[in-house]
């Protein structure tokens, strides 16, 4: 981090301030660059992204009405679904067609819209699974605990540290299935961080999380950025988007229709139209920008 900034947040904001707010705009230091990514389901084109870049070290929000293709875009980029066409690079490396587990290993880790906490495993075992390069995960080494016990201790320390940060340290020995929906979201995020990813992609991290937890989750996401990790997240809650994102990308009907800093994007007419066209009770109205004609939500 250059000395003239107090935090990564300020740095990210300052760097992105000079970027022109238009769809597909190049960024000064992109970690992810996608070109012509298209995915169709039968006749429906779920994703058709011409060009998009994600700035390194920043928190980027991916927003858009339901069915805009955000989750599908996540699935394509992380290798969980196959694009009909398209190329994308991660850290300058071509990664289209790469197996999803390899992408996770090179630092692109995601969470899922429908939380995938492993219910019948304990919280700590969930966390341990997130750690990379484990000797004991090889079948022959697994038989000899002395080969992996010390590594396991280090992993546990790291896991406990993260669980403390996410307020889950009292749940260490509980089954993940006994956690609340919001706690599972937290666990999934903490687990993703076990591998020290460069880019975390969170699909609706706030869905189902109660307001009190939301505040601390916001704090966690900001903290992740301060550690130098890039965050790309999908979210519906506009207050949250406004609060934590350095940059916002708006998708509608599979395409990127707008980009820019949160304030700019939420005043954008195309964005307001996309939301209102899709669902009238969008909480975009909460930012005061988009009221329907009769003034009601």
């Amino acid at each position: 981090m250059p000395d003239n900034f107090d935090s990564r947040a300020e740095q990210a904001k300052a760097v992105l301030a000079s970027v022109d707010p238009r769809p597909g705009v190049p960024k000064p230091d992109p970690i992810l660059v996608a070109d012509h990514v298209r995915r169709s389901f039968g006749g429906l084109t779920a994703v058709n992204v011409e060009h998009v870049e994600i700035q390194r070290g920043a928190i980027t929000a991916l927003i858009g009405p339901n069915g805009a293709g955000k989750t599908t875009f996540f699935n394509l980029i992380t290798g969980f679904d196959d694009a009909n066409e398209g190329k994308w690079t991660f850290n300058g490396r071509q990664v289209a067609g790469t197996a999803p587990y390899r992408l996770a290993r090179i630092g692109m880790v995601r969470t899922f819209q429908l939380t995938k906490a492993l219910s019948r495993m304990t919280v700590i075992d969930n966390m341990r699974l997130g750690a990379k390069n484990q000797t004991g995960e090889r079948i022959f080494a697994a038989i000899f605990p002395f080969l992996w016990k010390s590594q396991e201790k280090q992993i546990d320390q790291r896991a406990i540290g993260l669980l403390e940060r996410f307020n889950l340290h009292q749940k260490v020995a509980d089954f993940a299935g006994s956690l609340s929906g919001g706690q599972r979201k937290l666990l999934e995020m903490a687990r993703a961080l076990m591998s020290d990813p460069e880019l975390v992609m969170l699909d609706e991290p706030m869905a189902g999380v109660n307001p009190a937890l939301k505040q601390s989750l916001l704090g966690h996401i900001k903290a992740i950025r301060e550690e130098g990790t890039t965050v790309l997240f999908v979210e519906h809650d506009m207050d949250m988007v406004h609060d934590i994102s350095d940059w916002v990308i708006v998708m509608a009907q599979g395409q990127v229709i707008a980009e820019g800093p949160p304030d700019t994007v939420m005043k954008n007419q195309a964005v307001i139209d996309a939301y209102l066209g899709a669902h009238h009770d969008s909480n975009l109205t909460e930012s005061g920008e988009a009221l329907t004609e009769d003034g009601a939500r």
Binding site: A99, Y101, L118, S119, G136, E137, A142, I143
Partner: protein, 329 residues
């Protein structure tokens, strides 16, 4: 009614050679299904592969029995690869369909006329298959029988080594499932995508579980061939696999001792009802059944018992009901 006889006969079968074979197959299933969640419905094929490895190496090629153990491991590995490569990337049900079909295909192929010279056709391979093993028998030559359990000198030696094998594989499974490797396969059982998203090559882990479970089952086949000194293609029917599953569920899937407990109980009940009904018919207590019905009746009773188990103790005898009740989402 000779209750003592019923009890000794039943106990002899509950921990006897057949039980050992099924328990080994069930330990293999425990790795595959219990821990990794792989629905292998063709376990009998791996057992058959073990038996045929012994038959072919010892009888057809007149080579060492010890070599056949190596061959059994290689063949089981090859079969697991053959089944796993096309199916393990697909949804779970594909493996189930492919394995049950493959196990029948295997049985029908090995009994076919085309391979009669090597595999013995429908008669299978019969002869001194296990001689090399029986020659190692340390029991005194004038050994008659144990006080209660009625094994011959030869069978007792098989039983001893069989239980040592069970112990060895149980320890192996125990070591594996409490290791990070075991953590990964348990994660795969719950949600494959979650494990992929954490950077694990799920395909490789599933393959390893399939191979390991297949090899353990093949050892069951080796025991079978050595004990019976014969390999019969039509003993490797799909119902073998389903009994092995029954044993696993009875004892509790994903419990290290599940297959052992389940296997002993299964054979105790099956043999016990058989012996009891047989004697009861002989003694005239039951007059609406023939002695020839006993074989079928005991399976009907077993079925009824299983239904009761699933209703009242779905987690098996060792399972943890609380864990089962946890929301799988």
């Amino acid at each position: 009614m000779d209750w003592g006889f019923i009890l000794t006969q039943t106990t002899t079968q509950a921990i006897g050679i057949t039980a050992i074979i099924y328990i080994l197959a069930a330990i293999g299933l425990n790795v595959q299904f219990g821990y990794a969640g792989l629905l292998n419905f063709g376990q009998v094929m791996f057992v058959a592969a073990g038996s045929y490895a012994v038959g072919v190496i010892v009888l057809t090629f007149d080579l060492s029995l010890w070599l056949s153990i190596l061959v059994a491991i290689i063949v089981a590995t090859a079969l697991a690869l053959l089944l796993g490569i096309p199916t393990l990337r697909l949804r779970a049900d594909y493996l189930a369909i492919v394995t049950i079909a493959a196990s029948e295909l295997f049985r029908l192929s090995v009994r076919s006329i085309a391979f009669k010279d090597t595999l013995g056709g429908a008669q299978g391979l019969n002869g001194k298959l296990g001689q090399q093993f029986h020659d190692t028998n340390p029991l005194p030559a004038d050994f008659q029988s144990l006080p209660v359990l009625s094994w011959t000198r030869q069978d007792l030696w098989v039983v001893i080594v069989g239980w040592l094998l069970i112990a060895a594989f149980t320890v192996l499974v125990w070591l594996l499932v409490r290791s990070p490797w075991g953590r990964v396969i348990k994660g795969i059982r719950e949600d494959e995508d979650a494990v992929v998203s954490l950077g694990k090559n799920v395909f490789v882990y599933k393959m390893q579980a399939l191979i390991l479970g297949g090899i353990i089952a093949a050892f069951g086949g080796i025991v079978w061939a050595v004990a019976k000194q014969s390999v019969q293609p039509d003993t490797f029917q799909p119902d073998f696999t389903f009994f092995a599953y029954t044993i696993l569920l009875l004892g509790g899937a994903a419990r290290v001792f599940g297959p052992i407990v389940g296997g002993i109980i299964f054979w105790f009940l099956l043999a016990g009802t058989g012996e009891f009904l047989g004697q009861a018919i002989q003694a005239g207590w039951i007059d609406f059944l023939q002695a020839t019905d006993v074989g079928n009746i005991r399976f009907m009773l077993m079925g009824a018992g299983l239904i009761a188990l699933m209703v009242f103790r779905p987690q098996g005898i060792f399972g943890d009901r609380k864990e089962l009740a946890l929301d799988a989402r």
